[in-house]
Structures are given as structure tokens and as C-alpha cells.
């Protein structure tokens, strides 16, 4: 049910984002989605790719510090209040969201959000119990180009 997300440390200066992206592109690895958190000094690039183990190896071999995290992809109705409803459920279950970002593709009337939970297993249970659809890796990979 969980997805593997790669995070890497980047200094916040011109050109630093391009280099790792080029390194994985050279291996023919496509980025399904990404998010970037940054401060004035540094940034954390988070990537979801199909061949995460290969991408991790490529990046580490090129000298980046890469971290592997399990995240959860959730299908939400792409209409006003769609996300708010999901958040209400998580809040009621006292689940802490470390951060979240939107997946770059939508599917029909659904949008996919990527959540980083402190406790992903319990989060998945709560989401399923409340009738939400958690998108696993295989399903996600099946509809991306």
C-alpha cells in the first residue's frame, strides 16, 4: 500500500536542482512526481519514480545523500472540499501529517495526493476504514505513461 519516495539534499543555489535530475534521466528513469521544500540555504527534493532502487543507486553513486521514505497515495474527489474531508478524517484519528503534495496526474474526477505520515500503517487503516481509496504502487504505475 505504501510508496517508496526518494529524498535528497540539495544546496539552495543555481544549478543544484538540475544535476540530480539529469543523472537519473541519463539512466532513462522518469519522474512521476516531485516536491521541493526549501530554506534560504538548502532544499529537500522528494521524488517518486518507478525504479526507485535503481534511481537511489544512481544518485548515491554520483555523491548525493539520498533517503528512502514510505509515503501514502490517496485518491480524492477533485471538487471543492475533497481534500478537506480527508483531512477531517485524519484529524479525527489524531494522525499527524508530516507533509503532503499533489501527484502531477489526475484520473477522471479523482486527484491523487501523496502524504508523509509519522505512522503510515495506521494512517492507511484509518483511510480504508473511512472508505477512501489508497493507491498502491502497482496501481499508480499502471496509469502513468
Amino acid at each position: 500500500m505504501k510508496l517508496q519516495q526518494l529524498s535528497l539534499f540539495l544546496e539552495n543555489r543555481p544549478g543544484r536542482l538540475g544535476a540530480p535530475l539529469e543523472a537519473i534521466a541519463a539512466e532513462g528513469i522518469n519522474i512521476l512526481t516531485l516536491s521541493l521544500a526549501d530554506t534560504a540555504q538548502f532544499g529537500i527534493l522528494r521524488l517518486i519514480v518507478r525504479e526507485w532502487d535503481k534511481a537511489k543507486q544512481v544518485l548515491e553513486d554520483a555523491g548525493w545523500v539520498v533517503n528512502l521514505t514510505e509515503v501514502v497515495a490517496v485518491d480524492l474527489l477533485d471538487r471543492p472540499g475533497g481534500l478537506a474531508e480527508a483531512l477531517k478524517i485524519l484529524e479525527a484519528a489524531n494522525l499527524n501529517i508530516e507533509y503532503m503534495y499533489a501527484f502531477s496526474l489526475r484520473r477522471g474526477d479523482k486527484a491523487i495526493l501523496i502524504f508523509r505520515f509519522e505512522d503510515p500503517d495506521r494512517a492507511i487503516q484509518v483511510l480504508l476504514d473511512n472508505g477512501l481509496h489508497v493507491v498502491d504502487g502497482d496501481e499508480l504505475m499502471s496509469f502513468v505513461p
Binding site: Q5, S7, F9, L10, E11, R16, A37, T39, Q41, F42, I44, R46, G63, W64, V65, V66, N67, T69, E98, Y99, R116
Partner: protein, 450 residues
């Protein structure tokens, strides 16, 4: 730690090798120092370098009325020694020398240090005193894994051990495998080397499939390079020994200036032979009691090459409180830095070693760091660049910011300055072979001198 060394909680129960000298009442000790200081002023008038300066200042033994009058005497620096190369600072005829050692330092050609037979005698006594203070007994066997040669470490400790009556194995430095074989064959209880070499021996034993704690060594006397309390714990734990620190420098004699007693709360300075000042390296005024400053050493008894107010560039603190061991001598802390590396940031003296200590307190931070000092407007600004590595990297921004804040807090606690912590990519800080460059001072030279 092994019970071999006895109860270190009771420093008063250990023998003192040179009891009358080491426990001399303070007033008597200071009277002796003053007498020897006056005599020194007479003896150095045979050295042109000192004679000219004394004449210029119109100073003679009659001007030395108290120990504080040492401040009327000129300083001696490493540069002075180089200018007097090779033996311009001799105070005795060349033919009365018994030995010449040398110090390579990290820069330039070696500077020579000369000894008369009596100097060698004194040196042996000084080393014997700190060895016995650190648990060495005549019935022990000691392995000396220091270099023998121009370097003073090997010979100084060798003669000190012989003076105690210990069996000496002059294994000399290097060849770790052979060191371990000797230990297993001859079962020495005492190891003499640099603290880092003690850890190398422990690692070497593990590589050979030998438990380093099972080696016969129970006491270590380590010196020749600065080390930390953390390193002491690491060595003691790795080898199951009691580790003692000692201090000295070849310019004034070699090892034997000071060493630890069982209390291990600072190193006892052998004040009957050395007059030690602790000065602010900028103003050259004494620092308040217990504050860190540059050690400035005057040799009171050296015959061949007396040193007057030798600027060691070593930073340490001095303590005058009486010690539980019964010795009456003043103690010094570990050397915590070198004035060569000292930075003055917003008026605060800061040493790269303090930044390193702060980083060590934060688990997982790398030894790769760079201190950048700039003055964007009127105030100094410090950025400490720390390389990121897998153990400290998190995908969570809050964790990363907490890490930066923790490092910053530790720097504040250790060095007393506020520093910006910049995490940088791996291998982005330049690597150096040998002595690492830790500081990039981007302030103008004129500003620095102001």
C-alpha cells in the same frame, strides 16, 4: 576500567616519586622559583639574543624581586629560535653538550634543542615524576611506541622509565602488528605513545582477531598531540586501561613539563623547573584565574638552552586549587587550541577546536566542516558549513531545521558565539592531506588587526 590501577578515587593513596620537591609548601616553592629565576637572568646574559634585550631594557637580576617580575623579561618565539638557528641560543660552551634533539614542527626546518648532562638528568627526573604519578612502578614493563630520534618523545619517556626502574621495551613508533606481537610475548603493563596510536593499536588487534581488552596493557601514558576526554574514554574502554595525559614541548625540554596524577583533574606543572604564565595572546596580559590563555614557559633550570618566556601558542587553563593527591604544584588543563588558529569574533576568542567539539556533541555530524568569518556590515558574522551525510539527513524539513538549531546551540555553549549553521552537500568542503584548513576568514586584514 581495570582494577589494576587501584582506586583512582583515592589519589592520596598513590606514591609520589619525588615527594619533597612535588609537595613543597607553596611559599617555599615560590621562593625556590624566584631564586632560580634570578639565577636564570644571570645565565642568559651569556646568550647574545637575550643579553642584547636585557641591556636594551636595562634589566638585571637585581630587577627580579618577585615572580611577577618575570614580565620584565622578553618573550621568545619559534621565529626567534629559527633566527638563532642552529645553536645561537646556547648558554654553555658547545663542548659541554650531551645531546641535541630537534623539533620539526609543521612548518619549516627543524629547530634544535640542546641538553647538558645535567639537563638530561633533570629531564629523566621530570618524566619519572609524572610516570609514577600515573601508576607506573619499578616492577612494571613498559613498551615505548614513540619515535626515537630527533623527536623528544621516545628518549624522554625512555629515560624517565629507566629512572623509575621499569623494564623498558624501546619498540619505537609504527608497525602495529609487531607492537601487538611484542605485547603478547612480553606482557608489558604500560604503554607509551600518542593517544591516536593507542586507538590504532586497538584497531590493529581487532583486525588480527585479538580482543584489545585482553592485551596485557593496563596503564597508558599518552602525549605528543592534543586529545579530548571523549578520546580518553574511548581508549580506556577499547584497551581496558587507565589513560594518563602528559604535556611538554621540545623547545623547553620535551615531555615532562606537566602530567596527570590519579585525580586526573588537570596536569601538575613541575613548577620547580618551569615558571608558567597564562596570557591573553592578543594583549599579552595575564588572563583571569581559570580562564583559557596562551601558556608562556620560562625554564628555571635548563643549562644548555634556557628559554625565557617561550610562547608555546598552546591554549590551556591554569588551576591553583590544592589537589587531592597531595602535590602542591599548580595544574593545567588539556591543551584546547593553538593561538595560530585563534579567531577573534566580535571580541570573543574562538578556536576551531571548540567548533569541532560542538559538532562532536551532535551525533552524526561529520568531521568535515569549514568556519567562514565575514563582516558584511560592522559586525562579524560566522557561518559554519557542515557536510550532510546519510545519518543526519531527513526528508522532513522540521528535523533538518532542528538539527541546524542544535548545532548552533552547541556552538553557543562551547565557544560562546552565535553562528549560522549551513548544511552543505557531501564532499563540497575541500579535503586536505595532513593539516586541514578549517577557517576561511573573509574579513579584511586591516579590520582583523583593529
Amino acid at each position: 576500567m581495570s582494577a589494576f590501577i587501584g582506586n583512582l578515587e583515592r589519589p592520596d593513596q598513590y606514591p609520589i616519586w619525588d615527594e619533597p620537591a612535588e609537595t613543597l609548601p607553596r611559599a617555599e616553592l615560590e621562593r625556590l622559583q624566584l631564586e632560580r629565576l634570578r639565577d636564570l637572568v644571570v645565565r642568559i646574559s651569556r646568550v647574545p639574543f637575550y643579553r642584547d634585550q636585557l641591556n636594551h631594557r636595562d634589566i638585571g637580576p637585581q630587577n627580579i624581586r618577585s615572580l611577577a617580575d618575570v614580565r620584565k623579561l622578553p618573550f621568545t618565539t619559534k621565529a626567534d629560535m629559527r633566527r638563532q638557528h642552529p645553536l645561537g641560543l646556547l648558554a654553555v660552551p658547545r663542548k659541554s653538550l650531551a645531546r641535541i634533539h630537534g623539533s620539526s614542527g609543521t612548518t619549516g626546518k627543524p629547530t634544535f634543542v640542546a641538553y647538558t648532562a645535567k639537563d638530561l638528568e633533570t629531564w629523566s627526573t621530570l618524566c619519572a615524576r609524572f610516570l609514577v604519578a600515573g601508576g607506573v612502578k619499578p616492577e612494571h614493563t613498559a613498551q615505548v611506541a614513540f619515535g626515537y630520534g630527533l623527536f623528544t618523545g621516545g628518549f624522554g619517556l625512555h629515560y624517565g622509565l629507566e629512572r623509575v626502574g621499569t623494564t623498558v621495551i624501546p619498540a619505537a613508533a609504527g608497525n602495529t602488528r609487531r607492537q601487538i606481537e611484542i605485547m603478547r610475548d612480553l606482557a608489558p603493563e604500560v604503554l607509551i605513545c600518542t593517544p591516536s596510536y593507542a586507538l590504532t593499536i586497538a584497531d590493529g588487534a581487532r583486525e588480527l582477531g585479538i580482543d584489545p581488552r585482553a592485551l596485557p596493557i593496563r596503564i597508558g601514558h599518552f602525549g605528543g598531540e592534543p586529545w579530548t576526554e571523549d578520546m580518553r574514554r574511548e581508549i580506556e574502554d577499547a584497551l581496558d586501561i587507565a589513560a594518563f595525559n602528559n604535556y611538554g614541548l621540545s623547545e623547553v625540554i620535551g615531555p615532562g613539563v606537566s602530567g596527570e596524577c590519579p585525580a586526573r583533574a588537570g596536569m601538575h606543572i613541575q613548577e620547580d623547573h618551569f615558571l608558567v604564565e597564562c596570557l591573553d595572546p592578543e594583549s599579552l596580559e595575564p588572563v583571569p584565574e581559570g580562564e583559557p590563555g596562551e601558556l608562556v614557559i620560562t625554564t628555571l633550570t635548563r643549562e644548555a638552552m634556557p628559554m625565557v618566556r617561550y610562547r608555546t601558542r598552546d591554549i590551556a587553563r591554569l588551576y591553583r586549587e590544592p589537589c587531592a593527591c597531595g602535590r602542591t604544584t599548580m595544574r593545567m588543563s588539556r591543551v584546547t587550541g593553538r593561538t595560530d588558529d585563534m579567531l577573534i569574533i566580535r571580541g570573543v576568542n574562538v578556536f576551531p577546536s571548540q567548533i569541532e567539539e560542538a559538532l562532536l556533541r551532535v551525533e552524526g555530524t561529520t568531521p568535515h566542516y569549514l568556519i567562514e568569518v565575514s563582516r558584511p556590515a560592522t559586525l562579524d558574522e560566522v557561518h559554519v558549513k557542515v557536510e550532510i551525510h546519510p545519518e543526519i539527513f531527513s526528508d522532513r524539513m522540521d528535523r533538518m531545521q532542528t538539527l541546524c538549531e542544535r548545532i548552533s546551540r552547541e556552538i553557543q555553549a562551547v565557544a560562546g558565539i552565535r553562528a549560522h549553521v549551513d548544511l552543505v552537500e557531501p564532499r563540497s568542503i575541500e579535503r586536505f592531506v595532513g593539516k586541514a584548513k578549517r577557517v576561511l576568514d573573509k574579513r579584511g586584514v586591516s579590520e582583523q588587526e583593529s
